[in-house]
Symmetry: C2
Subunit: 220 residues, 2 copies
DNA sequence: GCAAAAGTGTTGTCCTTACACCCATGG
DNA sequence: CCATGGGTGTAAGGACAACACTTTTGC
């Protein structure tokens, strides 16, 4: 049997000390004027991966971003038109890198905007559930993926890094223990620079060393 | 756009010291006479969860089994008829419990049969890939789920338990360390019985205590 | 008595956690 | 000089890995 087939995108970023999520305001029925995950119908005989790329671009203006599959959500009652199967994908982007590029190409969506994950509006369809599941997954994989570093600018301070961990895990961490753990892991490169423009002691800047990270994790 | 929508089931069990997988022999084109994961088309406006139950029953004779979603597999070239999206589900069953029930109801499949996961035949579609991914997931969740205990009979010896771990992880474990870890976890109940019918020292039997397991894990 | 598997302890290393104060800087 | 966040060490407990021999049983 055939079914409608859509893609939804969960796009995380980090700004102002908070985990952020990119949502679009729908300009079409159903759920017109509601906020929703960027997502839409696939086309006939379109590869799923191509559909993800296309829809991501058309709805947010973002390109060349790798998205990981979260899972399929069906449910006859998800949509007034009957069963629509959606496959959700998630990714993480650097806020500064995409800031100027966010802009829906299609007129199906009125605008795309960042929301702090702890201050989301009411969402269309079952998107709140998809987001919950995505956050769950992020929590579990945080230590085994480069996800955290995708959330930060190229050069960052240890406090910023800790904030990202805290935002994702939803709890505060001990500063000394956190730094020991990071130092131990050994895939941060200390830079000869420090923060600028702060009215207190400037913090050391670090960079993530992907090569060293892969060496570590590939042993396991 | 619409797409064909199928379900595939990855069903693990454990017998003769090996991790086993239930496959069906196809009686229809495409891939007639090939071995494949039990799976078929969903029906119009059928809930995904209902489709899983129905297909599992029709193709293997198994009922009342909870299946967990693995993910969606699309791919225009998966199937001669064009894009067919399949959502894979996996589960684990006790070999003894189901032994006599395995039997396809539908004539689309000629027979259902267990194969050791390290001795699988050539498989239809992209089912080999789905199985690989499922095994990966099993490895990762082995310590945080009741999966292992679903694989064993009600009463089992510690050596049997260790064999299951070894089969899933694909490596041998140290007996003393393994027993310490299990004892530490504290959700096995030692029974007053021992093995029977063996020509060497009979091993103590244990039972898995689900209540204690949940207490442990829910704290985290 | 022998074959076959059951059962059992110790040690070192490393990771995790808890916990509090001085330091550097800009204004 | 003060407000603000940056930066640092230690001790205890728990988890993990390495490692080999004795015991029980059926035949």
């Amino acid at each position: 049997m055939q079914t409608h087939f859509t893609i939804d995108c969960v796009i995380f970023s980090f700004n102002e000390g908070k985990l952020q999520l990119l949502l679009t305001e729908r300009n079409v029925y159903p759920y017109k004027d509601w906020w929703a995950l960027p997502g839409f119908f696939t086309e006939k005989d379109e590869e799923m991966e191509d559909a993800v790329k296309r829809i991501l671009y058309e709805h947010t203006g973002l390109k060349d971003i790798f998205m990981e599959q979260l899972g399929a959500f069906a449910g006859v009652k998800r949509h007034p038109e009957g069963r629509i199967l959606t496959v959700a994908f998630s990714t993480i982007v650097k806020y500064e890198d995409v800031r100027s590029k966010i802009r829906p190409i299609t007129s199906y969506m009125r605008q795309a905007k960042w929301f702090a994950v702890d201050q989301l509006p009411d969402l269309a369809f079952d998107h709140a559930q998809i987001i919950q599941q995505s956050l769950q997954k992020l929590k579990h994989t945080i230590n085994y993926s480069t996800a955290v570093y995708e959330l930060l600018p190229d050069k960052f301070t240890l406090t910023q890094l800790q904030q990202v961990y805290e935002a994702i895990l939803g709890k505060t961490l001990d500063k000394r223990n956190f730094r020991k753990k990071i130092a131990n892991a050994g895939f941060l490169k200390e830079l000869p620079e420090v923060q600028k423009g702060v009215s207190y002691r400037a913090a050391r800047l670090y960079r993530f060393d992907k090569r060293k990270f892969q060496k570590q994790t590939s042993v396991m």
